[in-house]
Symmetry: none
Subunit: 221 residues, 2 copies
DNA sequence: CTTCGACGACGAGGATGCGCATGGCTGGTT
DNA sequence: AACCAGCCATGCGCATCCTCGTCGTCGAAG
């Protein structure tokens, strides 16, 4: 597993490299945004949002465009706005300075675990089918009986996850983990809302069953 | 087939090892509870409940937590209380000292026969079968003679546990431990209620026997 | 046969989890 | 600068499920 560290502070960077290499990763380090975009491909990018030569968010968006790379942002304490912007721009997770090695490694492993299936499937087929429903990951398009559907981002991610495990029950926890990163604790009706939206747009054609107390399951109608 | 013998008495242990090895089993022996839990995985554990360094029942419960291992308890004559407690804690069978080699081998084979299907299926697909009953863990679906059944959450968990150990007695305590975590103390008719619901939905086709004072056992009708 | 303990049947009460509608917020768009 | 689509939080209503008490019944032991 290769990790790219984008960090301008030499001291911080050196500590990171030592810890990560010690954990068995292959690590490269760059200090500028330009170098980050030019660096060899990695599986995970540790991105400091406080870079000198460019807005870290631009780097993040560009990295996000390249499929299959996971991004963890690094921000200084208190810069909550930066963190949120990072997540919205597509970061998979974040850590706040100062952070411990154990926490960082845990988050790296969690992100890798989350993105493994996505990465594996994105390298092989990239298109899912379930009866009259066809889902193309590359173009993020959905057709139902050859009629294109217009889904929002969350709706697409949610449907892709469910169709990817069609026939099996997908727990609410897992859905929140994958579609929304950072599993929030507070019970919320947000997931239900998106499920309802999907049911509305899919009409019949695909059934989304509720498994009370567990999660959801999609089956061919 | 690997057998783990947990026995502190050297003389008894030596006799067991000889007999079991002669019967063609691969046998390991430990003399303490701690060593038992640290030992390499086995298919059957012969557990002496009269251990010096810990309550044998604790060992039993921990072993039971590891799927696919069968446990036969060994107790001294007359310690009826121990035997019942052992069964309640999830033992598959028991022998009473002093016992003959023939009886022991017969019980081991019987236990292995009972648990084979459960072990094999748990390692391959996660779907359980018992005669006309098919239970799929991933989709949480149940069919009886190809007719889908609608079970509630507790009902499904309960049935899965029972079918997973089909043919063996599953103690009430163990059921409460697994299906409801945190064993409640107050005697309550909750478990009976769910058993009754299952019996109603399964009709014939599957028998759920009551073992008074111990637990339940499911068998093909 | 009697007695005792455990289980089965049943029926509320309460708890839980979900669907849905609404309103505020934010980032992107024209 | 104003607008708008998408997203998230909240609250209420409802259906379902779980729980638990009581009583009747049955099996086992003496």
């Amino acid at each position: 597993m290769r990790i790219l560290v984008v960090e301008d502070d030499d001291r911080v960077a050196r500590g990171l490299l030592t810890a990560l290499r010690h954990a068995g990763y292959e690590v490269h380090r760059v200090g500028t945004a330009a170098a980050a975009l030019a660096a060899p491909p990695a599986d995970v990018v540790l991105l400091d949002l406080g870079l000198p030569d460019a807005d870290g968010l631009d780097v993040l968006r560009e990295l996000r465009r390249r499929q299959g790379v996971a991004v963890i942002t690094v921000t200084a304490r208190g810069e909550e706005r930066e963190r949120v912007l990072g997540l919205r721009a597509g970061a998979d997770d974040y850590v706040v300075k100062p952070f411990g090695t154990a926490e960082l490694l845990a988050r790296i492993e969690a992100v890798l675990r989350r993105t493994r299936t996505a990465r594996a499937s994105s390298e092989s087929s990239r298109s899912l089918e379930l009866g009259p429903l066809v889902l193309d990951a590359a173009s993020r398009t959905v057709t139902l009986r050859d009629v294109p559907l217009s889904l929002t981002r969350k709706e697409f991610d949610l449907l892709a996850l469910l169709v990817g495990r069609a026939g099996a029950v997908v727990s609410r926890d897992l859905i929140v983990d994958q579609v929304w990163q950072s599993h929030w604790e507070a019970p919320s009706r947000t997931l239900d809302t998106h499920i309802a939206a999907l049911r509305g747009k899919l009409g019949d054609g695909v059934r989304i069953e509720t498994i009370r107390g567990v999660g959801y399951r999609v089956t061919e109608a």
